[in-house]
């Protein structure tokens, strides 16, 4: 039954036909436009770059894209891929819009409409899980800095992860406490945002805390979109912890710390990465950011070759320090370039074989904590470990483990009223 047809029956009018035709024409044209392949020069290697450039995680995604672009510039400037007669890297950048369904669409699209030799992304583990699945099906090697355990637990042949695994972060957070604690601190509170990142890290925190005999006085997931941290921090305060292990993104990290100061909750804070590691954290909190620890999969001052050099260049070009995942994005581009060099071919299968055999100890491609990139049978970089950083005088510095530490940590943390 065509309700509105009946109500508005006007007979066939030329205008309506034209409008209908226009709409269908646009739809058809939209679909057919894919057939027009962008001209890809012969001396180019296509690398897919998938990050959230809009939506909730845009802040992180945009930094990762910038770092990838910078790396490609550097690689091309020093002669491109020499075994391919100086072929330059051509980044096919796409925005997964902080949405898992869109991630699938855009990954499918770039992998079927371009000849990719490799791809990288997606910052957030939720999206990486989707993109790597598509990549596996099309046989495109995918290198990621995401951390959730399922990424390398699926037996995929085309997935490579340079970063530590999620639970290692939680372990490191607790291990740091064990290393620092001198006054018998026993009570820990774990609060985490409820996406894949938060929940995986929290699992590591919970397991290790139990192992080390700490008392978990609070374990609470929360939704990042809150506009007031008071309900959450209220609960933290009531639990009277010695140390808080928060795992947060940006606004929640800042609000939690601010509110902890307001409610005078004097626990040491050992954060889980992400929001605790970005420039806004310090910009938003000022001096209150000092003394906050955070685990990180990467920092710009780790003890690996060339890190300082490219970090400084990034800071010069983009006006802010090179943050955790963006640094990894930079490193990953060099790992890809290295694999292309060994493979001597743009064929994704050969690139994959080269990645399996990767064993980098020099150059920007090895600049992950541990200073060595080599993938195990499941595609994970078995030499990597997270590092612990602390904000000191407005600077984010690595303080643990000793092999990477540039500064000693400040411990114990002075109470809010005494700063």
């Amino acid at each position: 039954m065509e309700t509105y047809e009946r109500l508005l029956k006007k007979g066939i009018s030329r205008r309506q036909i034209l409008k209908g035709a226009a709409l269908l024409g646009i739809s058809a044209g939209a679909n057919l436009s894919f057939l027009r392949q962008p001209s890809e020069a012969a001396a180019e290697v296509n690398i897919g770059v998938i990050y959230p450039n809009s939506g909730a995680l845009a802040r992180f995604g945009q930094a990762c894209v910038n770092a990838s672009k910078l790396a490609a510039e550097h690689i091309n400037a020093q002669g491109g891929i020499k075994s391919l007669k100086g072929a330059k890297l051509n980044l096919i950048i796409t925005d997964c819009q902080s949405d898992a369904t869109i991630t699938r669409n855009v990954t499918e699209r770039i992998m079927t409409t371009h000849k990719l030799s490799a791809a990288t992304g997606d910052y957030s583990s939720s999206y990486t899980l989707v993109s790597t699945e598509v990549a596996e099906r099309y046989g495109i090697p995918f290198i990621t800095g995401s951390i959730a355990n399922p990424i390398t637990a699926r037996g995929f042949k085309y997935t490579f992860q340079v970063s530590p695994k999620a639970e290692m972060f939680g372990h490191m957070q607790v291990d740091t406490l064990a290393w620092l604690a001198k006054a018998g601190e026993k009570r820990v509170a774990i609060v985490y945002e409820d996406t894949a990142y938060g929940t995986s890290t929290a699992k590591g925190l919970t397991d290790r805390s139990k192992e080390k005999g700490y008392e978990i006085v609070l374990s609470e997931a929360y939704g990042t979109k809150f506009t007031d941290a008071t309900p959450l921090v209220n609960k933290i305060k009531a639990a009277k912890p010695d140390v808080v292990f928060p795992v947060s993104y940006i606004t929640d990290a800042i609000l939690i710390i601010k509110t902890m100061k307001q409610l005078d909750v004097n626990a040491a804070i050992i954060g889980g990465g992400a929001g605790y590691l970005i420039p806004e954290f310090y910009n938003g909190l000022g001096a209150d950011a000092n003394y906050v620890f955070s685990v990180a999969s990467w920092n710009f001052d780790i003890n690996c070759p060339e890190v300082t050099k490219f970090s400084e260049e990034y800071e010069k070009k983009y006006g802010e320090f090179l943050m955790e995942h963006a640094g990894e994005a930079y490193v990953m581009m060099w790992v890809i370039a290295d694999a292309l060099e060994s493979a001597g071919s743009t064929d994704p299968k050969k690139v994959r074989e080269a990645l399996v055999a990767t064993n980098l100890t020099k150059g920007p491609g090895a600049a992950m904590p541990g200073c060595r990139v080599e993938f195990d049978a499941m595609g994970w970089n078995k030499h990597v470990h997270p590092v612990m950083t602390q904000w000191q005088k407005g600077q984010l510095r690595t303080v643990y483990p000793a092999s990477d530490a540039r500064l000693k940590p400040t411990w114990p943390v002075p109470p809010w009223k005494k700063r």
């Binding site: 066939i12 709409l23 436009s33 450039n53 949405d99 499918e108």
Partner: protein, 346 residues
């Protein structure tokens, strides 16, 4: 892109004369083309078509309650998510084939719609809409929270078993294409059947003016319930299809408000209360989304959504009741241009 309007036998034309009528032979031609397409088109087009079919199914199912009965549901993702999670969890825990899991999921979705109906059928207009948003959100939040059961935000992956038809898995996209196409035809048949039945009449009456309908003796609660059960059943099944096609589900993508809005949008843009409206709407919206992503996603952040949002606004301003009439007029004109004796049915 052809729109196949299945033709009914025209009693005024006898025998083989019928074949000369474009209104009869063109749909068959169209169907033939659609059958061949997945074998000749590049893979990404097949993917787009599958997405179009999926949203056409979802929009049509939504149409039963949102279009015909004018109960604006902005929480249909609830049923979709129930279908997706039920079949996936059953498969992961018990190895149950998703074909069977799909039926379980669909029935669970109906159960949820029973609950919704009991709580919400007295609600009108925006009240009902917000209540449905609430329902989908509660399901999403619970799925996130009870992570020991559902894996929470980490999501669930379908174990990859290669080509396994009995486990609803295929390595090529072609089977998915045909399954979704067949599913769509089935859904359209259901909608047409409802539309021309007494139930359909009742729903339309309720949609126009519920009080007046009840005054003439229509049991509005019963009619709405029937429509809702059918709507949620189909939507639940579509959820399972999505899970098996995408191999990965997580609370935001199957229970999210954005999905609910897109489902409703497809029907509204195309034309609510019509059989082919949601199909046309799905075609246009999916193409729009893919096009804006392709053309504008890249270095200029947010641009593709600006274009998408603008186009949506423009289309709604130009044609608030949906574009189906334009398209059908166009189709009629097209049929006239084809060789043969054109004799319209009405």
């Amino acid at each position: 892109m052809a729109i196949a309007l299945p033709a009914e036998p025209e009693k005024k034309q006898g025998g083989f004369n019928r074949l000369g009528n474009p209104e009869v032979y063109f749909p068959f031609l169209g169907l033939l083309i659609l059958f061949i397409l997945p074998f000749v088109l590049p893979i990404f087009f097949v993917h787009i078509l599958i997405m179009i079919f999926l949203f056409a199914i979802l929009g049509s199912a939504w149409n039963l309650i949102g279009g015909y009965a004018s109960q604006l549901s902005l929480g249909h993702a609830a049923f979709f998510g129930i279908g997706a999670y039920t079949s996936t969890m059953l498969m992961r825990s018990y190895g149950l084939s998703p074909w069977i899991g799909m039926i379980f999921g669909a029935f669970l979705a109906v159960a949820m719609s029973i609950l919704l109906g009991a709580l919400c059928f007295r609600l009108r207009g925006p009240y009902f809409a917000i209540a449905t948003i609430g329902l989908a959100e509660v399901l999403r939040l619970f799925t996130l929270h009870f992570r020991d059961w559902t894996s929470g935000a980490i999501g669930l992956t379908i174990p990859f078993k290669g080509n396994a038809p009995f486990l609803f898995q295929f390595t090529s996209k072609v089977p998915y294409y045909f399954i979704s196409f067949f599913f769509l035809m089935l859904t359209i048949w259901v909608v047409r059947w409802v539309g021309s039945s007494r139930l359909g009449n009742y729903l339309l009456a309720i949609g126009q003016d519920q009080d007046a309908a009840e005054a003439v003796g229509i049991d509005s609660a019963k009619a709405k319930r029937m429509a809702f059960y059918m709507s949620s059943f189909i939507t639940g099944m579509a959820g399972t299809f999505y899970a098996q096609y995408a191999y990965f589900i997580e609370p935001d993508s199957v229970f999210g408000l954005g999905l609910s809005i897109q489902i409703a949008l497809v029907a509204i843009l195309g034309g609510v209360g019509t059989v082919w409206g949601p199909v046309v709407g799905a075609l246009i919206i999916e193409s729009l989304i893919q096009f804006t992503q392709y053309a504008f996603a890249g270095t200029i952040y947010g641009l593709e959504q600006i274009v998408y949002g603008s186009l949506l606004v423009v289309i709604i301003l130009l044609r608030p009741v949906g574009v189906i009439q334009w398209v059908q007029n166009l189709y009629g004109r097209w049929l006239r241009c084809l060789p043969g004796k054109y004799a319209p049915r009405s």
